[in-house]
Amino acid sequence: MDINYKSKKREEIFNIETVTTLSVILICLLLFAFFTVKGSFQQVILGLVVFLLLPLLYIKVILKEDLNNFGFKINKWKEGFFIFPVCLLIMGGFFYIIFSYTNFSQNYFLGKYDMVNSYAYLFVYEFLIVNLFVFLYEVFFRGFVMFYFGKRFNVYTIFIQFLLFLIFLDMMGRLSMDYVFYMMTALLAGMIAYKSKSLVYSYLFSIIVLIASDIIYLKLTK
């Protein structure tokens, strides 16, 4: 089912579906934060279930929506590739400010010794762990949260998903300068996804920015 936002009449914002969806979103976040897990395997499984499986099931089973409406498509590549470099430039400026005017480089904790002294280790870390969670965050926050609320709040949905992301970080005890690039990426990736209506560009943007930030950090501090 194709949904044309402009052609739809304005919906009532706080209906039962919206409240239920918001509850599901919060439950997912709480579940990820507090569900007891042991070891990395269970942590990854938990992430896949909470951020991927549960939203997909909810969209298909409860909302009965097409996944295309939640960014699982490649369209509007012109908008995507237009805003992509703009956001990269903004992010570059943000890099400069953070590295130049804050003590980020002194305090940032990238990881254990092997990480900061081995590019091979870093490569594995970035492309397995970071990549996986960037993908999951894109599906959940940009795909599920942002595209769902996009129907009701239009462009403000970018900030809604951004706010939820900050709440999520806080619940995880990670609302700190170490995750400042994740926060900024969440905001800009939201803009990209909103404009391109696709998760592909926002995902590419996020993974590029976050890996680049770690590499730049290493280059500047080592």
Binding site: T20, T36, K38, I62
Partner: protein, 972 residues
């Protein structure tokens, strides 16, 4: 002030004398006399003048003490001899010049009327070996004969100095002395540049007698003066000589000789037992000493020196020149002068009479010279070029050449004076020359003194000052001679004016000073200080093993104010002494102290490496352990090379100093440290605390009144609402990450204000420190775990379990053999109790939500029944709990600027695996449970997790579907 007092005294005395004279000479009428004297004499008017009565009345009326007046009069009689005379001092810069160094001497004249710019300073320098009358064969002669006149005299010394003043280093080889075109002459007026008195009178002050003489001489022998001597015979000045008489045989007449007296004692033991003592004189009677054979006798005799005896007008005694003796020889005794050997041999002359014949104390009378017969000898003492004169207003090319001045520059020295004025020394109170060891310097200062002459004009005495004030040196040519006086009619009176002569050049050799005078190796002035002012022993607390980490770094520094060399050239030697006792027992004698720095163990404990060495003006030690000593005393000895200025071997100068330090003895006990009501620091070593924990530290109130609490060296400023100063208890939040350490310290004393009613000021003080280390809360399950490694490996039933042993290792610190056990897999059978080990231990009472799981199934407690599991089964046991600070503490967190969230529960967990072993107690009743437990065990843990997560997902989707189904579908 002294001078004013003298003037007042003089005026007072003159007034008193005048009053007496007036009273004695007036001739008033009888009535006036009666009225005038009535009160004084205490009568109705007696015409007889009673001077004593008058003076007694004066004394009474004016409270004049006769003894004081007598004393004053006696002082007045000699006051003229006490008046200050012009002098000069010389200072050097530098004070201890080295060989070849330029040194400047500065003259400071005193008691001269004019300023230095109007006085003459004639400097003279004598190099080592340049003594007067130096033979020409001496290798130093050319150097010493500065004026080139072929002899070394005082003028050479003057030329040596004044040449340096005049040419000021000008290189004369550059000059052409064919002519002198500059106008650099100077006419030196006697007494100074501004002296305009009609007649110049030069005066000489005898610093021994205190008398002042005009420098003058009688112009001829026929001078109107006549001496009368009380001598009935021949008056002469005799000089001694040694007479040798060869004698073949004969006798020498020896007169009677008094050998003194002796005691004679007589004792009568037989009869009365009495004794008596009488004094008898021993006399050798007059006799002739006979001798035979050839002999030569050496006899002291006298001869007439030829000098005329003169009469000293002051003492009225006959005097003779130095080396001769006044003798008044009677006519019949003249044979004692230049005696004949034959008379001696024959005994006609006694040898005892020959040694000291005649009368030596001869009185005399003399009359003054006439004024016209006396010639004033008021002359400059300038350095002169041979055949020329200085200060005569003529300074031609020859003189320019001699002094080495620039013939084209009127002031070669560029000091505002002409070249000849510089040679005359007008205002040149400084001279600079290149110093060589042995150099001596002096200066003749010529100027007007404050002393006025007695002459009937405005003249003041023109005086010469020498640096050592020596104008008369016995046994030398430097002497005041021709002392006499002349009479001059002044204001109608015959005024006697004493005069004498002295050749000042002869006195210069006694008026030298040297930069090296008094420059011995004095002590180095050592001042010591230390930092910190209140050092504490062991202030850094203890480490995790309870071992003291150390104390304050004590730095003792020494400052030498008068060192001559760079500090790195000074050798320092330090020593440390200790004293055990109270302040009342403290003694400063070194023997009451114990030397500590000789003890290698003491040095090692307190990080003392070096005790002596060059440049070691700072001594540093860490106050880790000073034993039982209450006071430390640091001694330092410093030494540096001392250049004696002789150009050869030097010596050393040294300094010593000591300083006493009373370190605070730090303690790690005596304070209670709590988090809430939990005592968190019961054991020794560092206190283990958690992140963002509120700690309350309390020092039991005792004899101290004031407290200074510091955390990591910074004062804790948080006070209660009703507190205005730190008390015996303080609370603070320990922030930081696991692994961070902190030091809490309290310094306390009993100092109180004098007006305070609180007891104190007994000198009580104490310092207590404790260490904190921030840790992550943990637990460990099983008998051997990461927190609790036992001596041997055990199973969960408390029995020794060799199967869980991984071997042993030897501890490096304690050298003990320790078992290395499995920490995650344990054996057990039957019912076992899982006792967790908590870290830190004190958290056990503050845990919430404690849960035990067996294969994921929650249990009520840590008591687990394993009997239902078959032997060999692996059972997973886990523990979960949360540590929470008390609610009351968390509520106060906002006071510290922290959110309550940051102290939310800290999760702690651990899990072990139990391998079930055979148990003797396997009852049939538990078989069913056993099957279920076995089933549960065999389901993989990950499957359980997957099941849980899937179940959760299903519930969420299902619940959401149900909820939405109750609502209206919006998008159909």
């Amino acid at each position: 002030m002294k001078k004013i007092k003298k003037i007042i005294k003089k005026i007072f005395l003159i007034s008193l004398v005048s009053l007496e004279i007036v009273l004695m000479n007036i001739h008033p009428t009888q009535a006036e006399l009666d009225s005038l004297l009535g009160g004084i004499l205490g009568s109705d008017g007696d015409s007889t003048i009673n001077a004593n009565g008058m003076l007694e009345q004066l004394e009474e009326r004016y409270h004049l003490n006769s003894d004081s007046i007598t004393n004053f009069g006696e002082s007045f009689n000699v006051s003229d001899q006490k008046s200050p005379a012009p002098e000069v001092d010389i200072f050097f810069n530098p004070t201890n010049p080295k060989f070849g160094e330029e040194v400047t001497a500065t003259a400071i004249p005193k008691y001269f009327q004019e300023g230095k710019e109007n006085m003459y300073f004639t400097w003279y320098i004598k190099h080592k070996g340049c003594d007067r009358e130096l033979p020409q064969s001496d290798p130093n002669f050319e150097l010493c004969d500065s004026d080139g006149d072929g002899q070394v005299q005082a003028n050479d010394w003057k030329v040596e100095a004044m040449r340096a003043v005049a040419n000021s280093g000008f290189v004369k080889e550059k000059a052409d002395y064919g002519s002198s075109t500059d106008d650099d002459s100077f006419n030196a007026h006697i007494g100074g540049k501004v002296n305009i008195q009609e007649t110049d009178y030069c005066y000489l002050h005898d610093f021994i007698s205190g008398k002042d003489y005009e420098i003058a001489t009688a112009s001829s022998s026929d001078n109107g003066s006549s001496d009368t001597f009380s001598c009935e015979g021949t008056l002469m000045c005799s000089s001694p000589y040694n007479l040798s008489c060869g004698i073949m045989s004969g006798a020498i007449h020896v007169p009677e000789q008094d050998m003194g007296s002796g005691d004679s004692t007589a004792t009568d033991d037989g009869s009365g037992g009495s004794s008596s003592s009488t004094s008898v004189s021993i006399t050798v009677p007059e006799h002739d000493e006979l001798f035979d054979g050839t002999s030569t006798a050496s006899i002291d005799a006298n001869t007439d020196s030829g000098y005329e005896p003169i009469c000293d007008p002051e003492t009225k005694k006959t005097t003779c020149p130095e080396g001769t003796t006044v003798r008044c020889i009677a006519a019949d005794q003249m044979y004692l002068i230049n005696p004949d050997c034959n008379l001696i041999v024959t005994g006609a002359i006694s040898v005892f009479d020959l040694g000291d014949p005649g009368e030596k104390d001869v009185n005399c009378e003399t009359t003054s010279y006439e004024n016209s017969k006396v010639e004033q000898k008021c002359e400059h003492q300038f350095a002169v070029a041979p055949g020329m004169s200085t200060g005569d207003g003529d300074f031609g090319p020859d003189e320019e050449n001699f002094w080495g001045t620039d013939p084209l520059d009127p002031s070669t020295a560029n000091n505002g004076n002409t070249d000849e004025a510089n040679v005359a020394g007008i205002g040149t109170d400084k001279v600079t020359w290149t110093y060589a060891p042995g150099d001596q310097i002096g200066v003749i200062v010529e100027g007007q003194s404050y002393m006025g002459t007695k002459h009937d004009d405005s003249s003041n005495a023109i005086t010469f000052a020498l640096v050592n004030n020596v104008f008369n040196k016995e046994g030398s040519e430097c002497k005041i001679e021709e002392k006499n006086d002349y009479t001059e009619a002044i204001k109608g009176y015959d005024v006697k004016i004493p005069f004498a002569m002295v050749n000042i050049d002869n006195c210069l050799e006694f008026n030298f000073v040297s930069p090296a005078d008094g420059y011995q190796a004095d002590n180095m002035d050592v001042a010591m200080d230390y930092y910190p002012k209140n050092p504490t022993v062991g202030s850094l607390g203890v480490d995790g093993a309870g071992v003291e980490m150390g104390g304050d770094n004590l730095v003792v520094a020494v400052d030498t104010s008068n060192k001559n060399l760079d500090n790195n050239q000074i050798y320092y030697k330090w020593s440390i002494y200790g004293f055990n006792g109270n302040r009342e027992d403290l003694r400063l004698a070194k023997e009451d102290w114990t030397i500590l720095s000789d003890d290698a163990n003491f040095r090692k404990k307190n990080n003392i490496n070096t005790l002596e060495g060059l440049g070691m003006d700072q001594f540093e030690m860490q106050l880790n352990d000073i034993g039982d000593y209450d006071f430390l005393r640091f001694f330092v000895e410093s030494e540096e090379f001392f250049d004696t200025g002789t150009g050869t071997t030097g010596t050393t100068r040294s300094g010593r100093g000591d300083i006493l330090v009373e370190p605070n003895k730090s303690s790690t006990t005596g304070i209670a440290i709590k988090s809430g009501d939990t005592d968190i620091c019961q054991t020794g070593g560092s206190c283990e605390v958690l992140k963002n924990q509120i700690i309350t530290v309390t020092l039991p109130s005792g004899s101290v009144n004031n407290y200074l609490w510091t955390l990591d060296g910074k004062e804790i400023t948080t006070l209660g609402a009703d507190e205005t100063k730190q008390g015996n208890s303080v609370s603070f939040v320990l922030e930081g990450n696991p692994g961070d350490s902190h030091v809490i310290s309290v310094i306390a004393n009993d100092t109180v204000s004098p007006a305070s009613t609180v007891a104190g000021n007994k000198g009580e003080k104490l310092t207590v420190t404790r260490n904190f280390v921030v840790v992550e809360p943990m637990i460990g399950l099983g008998p051997n775990n990461r927190l609790n490694r036992g001596e041997e490996c055990k199973d969960l039933n408390g029995d020794t379990d060799t199967s869980s042993s991984l071997g042993t290792y030897t501890s490096i610190s304690s050298n003990e053999t320790v078992s290395n056990c499995r920490e995650k897999v344990f054996s057990g059978s039957g019912t076992v109790t899982i006792n967790p080990t908590y870290y830190p231990n004190w958290i056990s009472g503050s845990l919430k939500n404690v849960k035990y799981y067996v294969n994921g199934v929650a249990q009520d407690s840590g008591m687990i029944d394993l009997s239902s599991y078959p032997a060999g089964t692996l059972v997973n046991v886990s523990y979960e709990g949360e540590y929470w600070q008390s609610d009351s503490e968390r509520a106060t967190l906002k006071n510290w600027g922290l959110s309550e969230v940051v102290t939310s529960g800290e999760k702690i967990s651990d899990s072990i695996t139990i391998k079930v072993t055979d148990s003797a107690d396997q009852s049939a009743s538990k078989k069913a449970t056993k099957i279920l437990a076995g089933l549960a065990y065999n389901i993989p843990e990950q499957m359980i997790f997957m099941f849980r997560i899937m179940l959760t997902t299903f519930i969420i989707i299902f619940a959401a579907g149900v909820v939405i189904s109750f609502g209206e579908k919006k998008y159909n």
